[in-house]
Amino acid sequence: MEINKLGKRAAALAIALSLTGLAACSSSSDTTSEESAAETSAAETASEAASEDTATEAGGTCINEIFGPGGEAAGEGVTLNGGMLLAMTGAGSFFGDVMSKGAQLAADQIREAGGMDYQITIADHNNGDVPTALTEVKRMISQDDIRVLQTSYGAPSEAIAPLIAEAPVLTLNGGGSSPGQLSKDFLWQNRMVFAEDPAAGALAWIHQQYPDAKTLALIGTQENGVGVFQETAPNAWAKLTGGEVVVAEQHNVGDTDFKGIASKIKSAGADAILSVSFGDDLGYQVKAVREAGIEVPFMGIEFTGQAASIAGSTYDTFNFATDFYNTENPNPWNQCFVEAYQAKYGEDPEYYGSNYYEQVFIFWDLVKRVIAAGGDPTDPTQLQDALIADPNFKSVYGGSDTVVGEVTLDTNDHSISKPMGVFSVSNGTPVLEQEIRKVSPADDPNSALVQ
């Protein structure tokens, strides 16, 4: 599969080159690359076609099993225009890619299951550029008449908050949380919100596993660091161990050189490290810390394959505490999702893919409820009212081999609670070590560990 993919890319590269006039020089090499292109793409189509069938079957049947039959009550005949505000180019394009894949799969499955017709428009916010985000959301509102929106990244989501409240557009954010997004009308989070949410549990777990650890190092970006740095971590750590935070360093999003921070941590002799950075940055950090000869536990709050590929084998010494999405979760909906995703895209779904997949099902659920109540299922206000009336939704998180998981949105601050856990990584794959929960700062951090 991997070879096929790269082969296809090689062909595309050859075409790109001939566009720029290079390949024009040698016609012989041109034909060979075209041939190989033809071969590989034929193979690709064949395998895609084969898997498409199974996808349809698996998707269609299992979705109906979980969400009930299709038909008018399920929104058949209703067209809901949804927008996505993602990073489609540049550094964050990987995230945009998997997010849009998740949502697209959900739209396909719902249509096949006889549900609503969910139409997606994608906008690129150019790695969190606020003016672009504002312009693009306006475009989707006025050109594409979107009623619901799936947004991402902190700063743009915060910036569009007044815009979606005014329009209105019912918006879910599944990646990129920030304090400024809390309690905003029409803006809801289905990604576990803050870096501080799992922090207490993560620290408690470290204390449990490494009782001798007394000093803590904190790493984070300014985006996510503030709360953890100033309050959550020092308090919880002091309560747990009586020790203190000895290093607290912030860095810029997208940094790759963490030698300086690693040296400072080593020099300060920290017994444990908690990082609240996101994305690729975390991969660079783990690698730098381990290569600086620091052996102490390193706890993050996110896991992505991207970061793992950067850190390589050093990621096997990494722990993280989050509402981690697990492809192995036997929850029937999750298995149905994973199978369909693999069939459609030839790869396992990513954490962020699952969040945006779920979001579309939340919209579908709301549409069905509004239809049942005799309302207009494309009215964002009615959709939000339905959400507030019952903020419980099915989830690919949690559950068991027989029961589909469930999540609840917080109708006060519009955040979400999801099952969280502390994970370790083994051969690049996360393994659940300990379930944790969010606790208030006043509580004993040890109570964050689910017994």
Binding site: V130, A159, P162, L163, E223
Partner: protein, 598 residues
């Protein structure tokens, strides 16, 4: 509609930034990479001022970042403009004094990159990476220009259009004013302006400041229109985008910049529409490729400088040629700052040079030259290559300091004075190369030399626009008259680059005349002129004498010197060897040997 209005706002903001940068980049020829961070300083200053005051009772006050002083937008904008202006002066002072060309690019680049980082770590001011949100919309009377609503967005686009038009008018007004003429003249020609009696530093600094101030003001309106922003909005990418607009459109002309902004600002939304969701990465590919292609096809920009200048037939004062015959001269009226009246006015020796010396690194270039220029006469400096003729010109005009000796204009010592001071006392020079701005009209090239123009001061342009305009008419008339004296008035509205070299030489002499100096130093007026035009140049130079000017020229072609000079001074190795009429000098065997070698 709301979307298109938003696109319009974005393009207009980009356009305003680019139009103002064009003043600096296009007119003054200085590249600044710091435009984005200056824009950001304006935006955050305004945002902090207009954000509501922190309300202690508010539940979210704890997050504490989206609060400010609760000012009205108008004073906030004014303060934003002021703060940016000052910030720009801080970088430009050393930048312009010490650093030219690529160093200025780098200095501003360092300022931009460092500034970006400061903005992103200075949470108290910018809110850190999350920036500020909830900036209240701009209100005029009861009308809220809130861009959250479609109607508000359209209104704001209208407002932005008005602001952009104002920015364009300001930039155009400055660019096409005597002030802009000064800037264009400075470009690539730092030494010229002082020789016309004008100090180049101040207009450059002011341009830097004004460009920044406009960016700051636009920053304020950007903040009001966005409602939210982060330091990342003011990154180097934006600076580069703004420069791209100017270069793509064509530097030094505002029409080009407007077109450039529409293309670069409009290309992405159009590609977005055409390519759809699937084509998002392709947008950037096509965008980049388009940029490359456009530069390959039109490397001087879509509308090169001067391309739109209309060729008009000038209204030449027909009567002027007759007036000239009466040796009445050109009427400068108020437009002179020459302090010519002094007790020794009647001296026949206007300029007296005594034993001036100059050596470079031990090598003597001028080894004690003494001579004087007689009123109303043409004096020629002749001598072999390396005789120190041009060096003496440089010493007289103060571009080179004298190691020793004295230079007196009507008894007043000139040594040690800066060039532009010396010019104001009445000595102007031309250069071997014409040093005209090829993209300006002939008239503008000459008009720049007219002294004492009120329109060269921004203060006047703003406070006395009418007076400045009226003055400009007189200035143009003077310039036209000067051109008429040299017989090239019919070319007044043509671009210099379309002129033959002979005509360009004549224009350069006309410019000298327009300084109203009475001592004129001409460095090789006929060199490089085609044979057909040489006579015109010779005639032109002799007209200077007819107007009562005291002329000194360096000329290698003795052939021409003979026809022009009343008096000649033979120099060798920076020393006066002989003086006399040209005929006397060339008949000397000794001088012949010195000149043609032995």
């Amino acid at each position: 509609m709301g979307y298109y209005a938003q696109i319009a706002i974005n393009i207009l903001i980009l356009m305003s930034l680019a139009v103002s940068l064009n003043l600096l980049l296009g007119y003054a020829g200085r590249v600044s990479m710091a435009q984005a961070v200056l824009f950001g300083i304006g935006a955050f200053t305004a945002a902090r001022l207009v954000l509501p005051k922190a309300d202690a009772s508010s539940a979210v006050a704890a997050s504490g970042i989206n609060y400010g002083l609760g000012w009205h937008w108008l004073p906030a904008t004014v303060v934003a403009i002021g703060v940016t202006f000052v910030a720009a002066l801080i970088i430009s002072l050393p930048a312009i004094r010490l650093i030219k060309g690529e160093y200025l690019i780098l200095l501003t680049l360092a300022f931009q990159l460092g500034g970006e980082q400061i903005l992103s770590v200075w949470e108290g001011f910018t809110g850190g990476p999350f920036g500020v949100a909830g900036i209240p919309p701009l209100k005029i009377g009861d009308t809220s220009f809130s861009t959250l609503r479609e109607s508000g967005t359209i209104l704001y686009a209208g407002l932005m259009l008005v602001i952009t038009i104002i920015v364009i008018l300001i930039s155009w007004g400055l660019g096409e004013s005597p002030f802009g003429r000064l800037l264009k003249t400075i470009r690539g020609n730092e030494t010229l302006l002082p020789s016309l009696g004008k100090n180049p530093i101040r207009p450059e600094l002011l341009t830097f400041g004004i460009t920044a101030a406009i960016a700051g003001g636009i920053g304020a309106f950007f903040a009001y229109s966005q409602g939210a922003m982060v330091p990342g909005n003011f990154s180097l990418d934006l600076s580069i985008l703004v420069i791209s607009v100017v270069v793509l459109g064509g530097t030094g002309n505002i029409a080009g910049t407007i077109v450039g902004a529409i293309i670069l600002g409009g290309l992405e939304p159009i590609l977005r529409q055409v390519l759809g969701d699937e084509g998002i990465p392709w947008q950037r590919v096509i965008y980049g490729a388009a940029l490359v292609l456009m530069m390959i096809i039109r490397p001087a920009g879509l509308i090169p400088e001067g391309a739109l200048t209309r060729i008009r037939k000038p209204k030449v004062a027909k009567s002027f040629d007759q007036n000239l015959n009466g040796a009445q001269g050109i009427q400068f009226g108020d437009f002179t700052n020459k302090r010519s009246s002094s007790p020794e006015e009647n001296l026949s020796e206007v300029l007296v040079i005594e034993d001036i010396k100059k050596s470079f690194g031990g090598l003597s270039a001028v080894g004690g030259a003494s001579f004087s220029l007689r009123k109303g006469q043409i004096t020629a400096l002749i001598g072999p290559n390396g005789a120190g003729k041009t060096t003496i010109f440089n010493m007289i005009t103060g571009t080179l300091s004298c190691d020793s000796g004295s230079i007196k204009l009507r008894g007043r010592e000139l040594t040690g004075m800066p060039t532009y001071e010396i010019e104001r006392l009445g000595i102007a020079r031309s250069f071997q190369d014409v040093r005209l701005n090829e993209s300006m009209t002939v008239l503008d090239n000459v008009a720049v030399a007219v002294p004492n123009q009120p329109g060269e001061k921004i203060f006047n342009l703003i406070l006395h626009p009418l007076k400045s305009r009226k003055a400009e008419k007189s200035v143009n008339q003077i310039a036209l008259d000067c051109l008429a004296v040299l017989g090239v008035a019919q070319t007044a509205h043509e671009l210099v680059r379309n002129l033959s070299y002979g005509d360009q030489k004549l224009v350069a002499i006309a410019r000298l005349l327009a300084t109203d100096c009475d001592v004129l130093l001409l460095d090789e007026p006929t060199s490089g002129v085609d044979p057909g035009s040489v006579n015109l140049v010779i005639e032109g130079v002799s007209k200077l004498r007819d107007l009562g000017k005291t002329v000194c020229l360096v000329e290698h072609s003795v052939h021409f010197v003979e026809r022009l000079a009343d008096h000649a001074i033979f120099l060798d190795q920076g020393v006066v060897i002989a003086e006399g009429t040209v005929a006397e000098l060339v008949s000397s065997a000794e001088l012949t040997e010195l000149y043609f070698g032995n």
